[in-house]
């Protein structure tokens, strides 16, 4: 719809005194992407979000969101945000908080009532709209915060650890909400250290550590692996040596683990195993889990 990327950063850096919170962040997030920003605690994830929203100022570098330079009011016009430290006015009701944000976001007055009821329904708070926020559990406040972030048809939604206070049902709901946003073409920037969460919803991922992006790409690119596992029985002794041209062979119980095999050659490999008298029960490309990859990245491997 609009050809500027949702987020562009150029050498974006932030220093707090002696602490380099962010050391030259370069990334481009296309419109409509569900972008996972992964990293351990203190890696610079929240700092990045605060810089993008103009809540903190970069020490150097520049960035644009939705085509507008960060820090300018216009850049925040179509943006929804759920802070990591989410806290909403305890003396207001949930409906009043949503109303406040409708006004702040410049939502058309005629749409307020519908927007508020929709937001309450999407986050599962339709029965608690008239309750004071002060009576909410942390999980309910986080749901409310998510509702606030969804108001006013945003083009970009920044979610900073959106499931930190939620139970498994709540986490599932959040994933569904994020998928719903993707279907509407909304760009989602998801800050998280929960790998499974990112793995399940994100199209693209950046891994950040000590203020620097150490890997970026689609999940597929990041987790691609050239290892195949074949569950096989009846293979004569010594036959596996004849599979050596396909890659390095290991045995793991009933499984043959073949490393370094090109994806196109997997059918040939299976045919060869069968030709040698093996009975093939299962063939699995072995994807690395995000956790394994993440830990390898952080250890500098």
């Amino acid at each position: 719809m609009i050809d500027t990327p949702a987020i562009v950063t150029r050498d974006l850096a932030k220093r707090y005194g002696a602490l380099q919170a962010l050391a030259g962040l370069n990334m481009t997030i296309p419109r409509g992407a569900i972008f996972g920003f992964l990293g351990p605690n203190g890696a610079g994830k929240t700092t990045s979000v605060k810089l993008l929203l103009g809540l903190a100022r970069p020490t150097s570098g520049s960035a644009e969101i939705l085509g507008q330079p960060i820090g300018e009011r216009a850049s925040r016009r179509r943006v929804g945000y759920l802070p990591e430290l989410f806290r909403y006015q305890p003396w207001l009701t949930a409906r009043e908080v949503l109303l406040l944000h409708c006004e702040l976001a410049g939502v058309d007055r005629a749409a307020w009532s519908r927007e508020i009821e929709d937001a309450l329904a999407v986050v599962g708070l339709q029965d608690r709209g008239s309750s004071r926020v002060g009576t909410f559990s942390k999980g309910m406040q986080q749901r409310l915060g998510l509702g606030v972030a969804l108001l006013g048809d945003p083009e970009l939604v920044l979610l900073d650890e959106p499931t930190s206070a939620l139970d498994p049902v709540g986490r599932h709901d959040v994933r569904e909400i994020i998928r719903g946003l993707r279907d509407r073409g909304v760009t989602v920037f998801l800050n998280s250290h929960l790998l499974s969460e990112v793995e399940q919803v994100c199209d693209r991922v950046a891994v950040v550590d000590r203020g620097k992006v150490i890997a970026e790409g689609t999940l597929d690119e990041l987790l691609r692996s050239d290892t195949v596992r074949i569950r096989v029985s009846g293979l004569p002794r010594g036959a596996k040596d004849q599979l050596a041209p396909f890659g390095a062979i290991d045995e793991d119980g009933d499984w043959l683990v073949v490393r370094g095999v090109d994806a196109d050659r997997v059918p040939d490999l299976v045919a060869h195993v069968v030709g040698l008298g093996g009975r093939v029960h299962a063939v699995e490309p072995r994807h690395e889990t995000l956790e394994d990859r993440f830990l390898r990245l952080l250890s500098g491997d």
């Binding site: 009011r73 989410f86 806290r87 909403y88 003396w91 702040l104 410049g106």
Partner: protein, 283 residues
Amino acid sequence: MLVLLIARLTVLELLRRRLFLVLIGLTLIVVALTSWGIAQVTTVGGRPMTRVEQVTVVSQLLILVGFMFSFTLSFSAVFAGAPSLSGDLESGTALAILARPISRAEFVIGKWLGVIATILIYALPTTALQLFLVDRIVQYVPPHPFEFVGFMVIEGIVVLTLALALSTRLAGMVGGVVALILWGVAWIGGIVGGVGLVLNNATATHIGTATRLILPTDGMWRGAVWALEPATIIAAIRASGPAAAGNPFFASEPPDALYLAWTAAWIVAFLGLAIWSFQQREI
């Protein structure tokens, strides 16, 4: 108008807090007690008071009640102003708001207007009720009732603006204590300046002038006292020489136009400082 939205939100926050109800309740009790007390002031030395005596006593009692109003108003302004920005930053409620297309200036001015509106909601009905009851009981209206309320409210705005500016950098408790200490120092500074006049001591007079300029709360308080002082008492005390200048519950003249202009400029400057300081603040 996002400024008015934040102002409305601030008023709502303050009104929904128990502090406001407690303040109104206590003030109404004080108003009732002073009205009852004033109704008892009818005799002196066993004989009925003359009208002149009654006016003298009632007017001076009213000045003491006025001091209570000025005191609670200033304290409420500090208690409302000092945590208004720092509290929102500490709790995190400011994050979601400031990530919206609102400028920091709009946020600060909205908070400022909201606290002022709350001060007015508190001060106007309670002082009006007090003056009305005194009028009904002893048929006495102070010479300048509107000026009295005006000076008191300006005093509240001055100390609120100070508290708000401190709130951009200091935690609510710290900023509040600093603002109250400065308010007290300004009050003492006013007395020192008066004593300087009495003793013809230039240093003390300069200290008084400096504190009046640095924080114009006591200057406004003196305006409120003047507004409550009957002309007969002003004339009598003037005739008795300069000794009354050291009395913080007496003023023979209202603040002049130049000082009022200074006070207005002070408020604008400190509000500007608050905005600037909040704009620089990382959240």
